[in-house]
Amino acid sequence: MRKEMKPGVWLIVLPTTQFKTTRINVQFLAPLQRATVTKRTLLTSLLETNSAVYPTQAALSAHLESLYGANFSIGVAREGKLHRIGVTMSTVDDRFTDTPLLPQAAAFLRTILFEPNMQAGRFDEATFAREKENLDHYLASLDDDRQTQAALGVQQLYFGADQDQAIPSFGTREDLASLTASSLAAYYQEMMQHDQVVITVLGDVDPKQVAALFADWPLDARSQTVPAVAFDLPTHPDVLTQTTKVNAQQAKFDLAYHVETDLMGPKYAATLVAEELFGGSSLSLLFTNVREKASLAYYASSMFDAFRGLMLVQTGIEGKDRQQVADLIRDQLAAVVNGDFSDALLKAVKDGILDHQRAAYDSPRFLTNQALYQLLVPDAPQNFDEFAQRIKAVDRQAVQQAAADMKLQATYFLTGEDSE
């Protein structure tokens, strides 16, 4: 069941008896803007830590424990030109408990979202200062993980001038520094009034009862602006490169490609198959030839972000092998472009995509996300069979064309070696 409770506020109910839990997910969707990304991230930390009803973290955690250790979390994500705040609450199904948990879970989320720990129009100063500092520590620690550092580095390089896309989806230290307890409270009000809201409930539930639980949430009607999701960057003929020296035993070499895609249509399906064949699966040419045959990398794989027209390749290598690895990666993509792969491999890659997709229907998180995509992306497949038809329709020629449209735009090299 999907209904628009008020303009810009949606409720989706997905009844199923497959799982032992009930999952509530509330999405707040806004246009992606560097000016608000860091605010939104800090806001999730504050809302997750305490509230007016549960003014300490201990009180809030103890309440969750009394609800059979209910899982509660708030996070942020980027989806093309959209920024999402996702609030998730997951509780055990009634057949295992001595009390129905869904009404209590909805009531808890209501207090968390609409009664934050504020005094006189500003967030509680002590909580604000602590969470701001913790977020600053977290952002400073990102470089402790070299794989993350390289992945963020290559995206910064690739998106360059477009700051909304270039910064991490969870913000920057620079933008964090100027935030205050009152400026963040003002942003909270803005978000509550303007963000599109999508509430999804999945589990052994009755849609009417669920609708009653959320009917009186204090969310006003808002202008309906489910924004266009897809982001695309014009290509340039030259390849941007950057090298960063660090203290590390292993080097990272990451590459960003511009890909031609549509959202969930035929181009998407062809690009997905081409990307899986090139580097996205354990059968891929990258995995087979760079990691396994040449022993040149511990990991070498690609990922595809259809919402941003981007394919990323990430590798962990020895610094001295960088040029050899770069050549090998170029050769693997050329092999896909030239159709230098067997029909059997193409079929196995497509079967692997279908297997993963079918298995995803065992995940409450996937099912919730799927329902959201169906709202945001007009062409999103409505079920597994629709998805499967699109993948099966991809032929050799479409794969080669999709690969030919993958244009290397940026490379980022993180190394401890002095040789480069």
Partner: protein
């Protein structure tokens, strides 16, 4: 063949032991799309010392269990990985201190993939050339872990606690140790530790249990295995405290200091339901004392002594066990002193009350049920318990039997000053 229904959790388990000794457990999940199978041997990185003939002890290079795990996929004319891939299935493997597991998941061709799994695990092929090539791949895997601060801290803690037990050795070994591995050693290990009576197979998912049982039995009946041989291991339980390194500090390229307090287990914990209950009791105790609903957590968090990287755990494996508590902090000495103080005065902590134990048990029960949603997790937990007598689905019953008095009783056994160590990691000077 035994079929058990566990009404507390609404789960059915079918168990059997085949004539060659292989133990098989099947859990049907008809509402799911996927099936997941995991085959495990009771052999891991600590088992470098053993008697191949049952008498004469030998010592093999560190990292050889993990090396064998990698090499087993590769055959003379193909790679088993590709066989799974051709059906669209995903395959993987992992090695821990005491176990090596091989697994796959599929939504369409379960029996075909089961056959691939059983056949590649039970049909070794090792050549000089392929062993040499693997040394390169694993060499860079070892390097990658060296760059991971979380892993370095964990490894450093084990070095402090178990200086004379192979638990402190990296599962992957070192570049020097794996260079000594030969095809003959790999064949010997396979013969001794991969015999069916030292292995279990778990299948969970959308399956016909009878058909799976019959299929595996037929596959095994068609193969020749030597008579089961008793395994003589050189590794013994390490419960001593006098060799613990009480403190070390590591400098690393990190942005913020971290500290970990380690606790060495001094009691051998059996693989029975009673042993599992004992472990759960220790985990509940740690949660009662250090969990994020405790007054202590609130106080430390508000003072900036900890952030949400703060964590704690207790682990039991064949021949060793340990607990750890710690996280990121500006002042590692202050945090480790505070943790030690709580551990050594646990009995008088204000958070240790009957009500709080009841609350933590309720939360623990809910988290257990939530954990049963994922097939991979269910199968991995079944596999971890499959060499003992406890059942995963007895958890609610075992949990409900634990009392405040049980928590109080383990404090003196576990939290002793002589069993503690501290590992600090600090940002390296520029």
């Amino acid at each position: 063949m035994k079929t058990q229904y566990f009404s507390d959790v609404d789960e059915t388990v079918i168990t059997t032991t085949l004539s060659n000794g292989l133990r098989l457990q099947v859990v049907p999940r008809p509402a799911y799309h996927k099936s997941y199978a995991i085959m495990t041997t009771d052999y891991g990185s600590i088992d470098t010392q053993f008697a191949p003939d049952g008498k004469q002890m030998v010592t093999y290079p560190a990292g050889i269990a993990h090396f064998l795990e990698h090499k087993l996929f590769e055959k003379e004319d193909h790679d088993a990985f590709d066989l799974f891939g051709e059906t669209g299935a995903s395959a993987n493997a992992f090695t821990s201190a005491t176990k090596t597991s091989f697994l796959f998941s599929t939504t369409t061709q379960l029996t075909k993939n089961l056959q691939i799994l059983l056949d590649f695990v039970q049909t070794p092929f090792f050549s000089k050339a392929s062993v040499a090539k693997e040394q390169g791949i694993i060499g860079s895997e070892i390097q990658m872990y060296q760059d991971d601060p979380g892993w370095r801290g964990y490894a450093g803690l084990l070095e402090n606690l178990f200086p004379n037990h192979p638990a402190h050795v990296d599962v992957a070994g070192t570049v020097a140790s794996i260079a000594q591995i030969t095809p003959e050693m790999l064949y010997t290990i396979h013969r001794v530790f991969y015999q069916p009576s030292n292995m279990t197979l778990i299948v969970v998912g959308n399956i016909d249990a009878d058909a799976i049982m019959a299929f595996v039995a037929a596959n095994q009946a068609a193969k020749q295995f030597p008579a089961p041989q008793a395994i003589v291991r050189g590794v013994h339980a390490d419960l001593q405290t006098d060799d613990i390194v009480p403190y070390r500090q590591l400098e690393m390229p990190i942005s913020r200091p971290k500290t970990l307090v380690g606790i060495k287990g001094q009691v051998a914990i059996p693989t029975t339901a009673e042993g599992w209950r004992y472990q759960l009791t220790i985990r509940l105790l740690l949660e009662v004392l250090f969990g994020d609903s405790s007054q202590l957590y609130q106080d430390w968090y508000d003072r900036g002594l900890i952030d949400d990287s703060f964590d704690f755990d207790f682990t039991n494996q064949r021949s060793f066990s340990y607990g750890l508590v710690g996280g990121d902090t500006d002042d590692p000495h202050a945090l480790s002193d505070a943790i030690k103080h709580v551990l050594l005065n646990a009995a008088t902590q204000p958070d240790l009350t009957r009500d709080r134990v009841a609350l933590i048990k309720r939360a623990s029960l809910g988290k257990y049920y939530a954990g049963l949603n994922g097939l991979n997790g269910v199968a991995n937990q079944l596999s971890a318990l499959s060499f003992g007598q406890a059942s995963l689905f007895d958890f609610p019953e075992i949990l409900s039997s634990i009392t405040l008095a049980d928590l109080q009783a383990v404090i003196d056994q576990v939290f002793q000053a002589k069993a503690l160590t501290v590992l600090d990691m600090i940002p390296e000077a520029d």
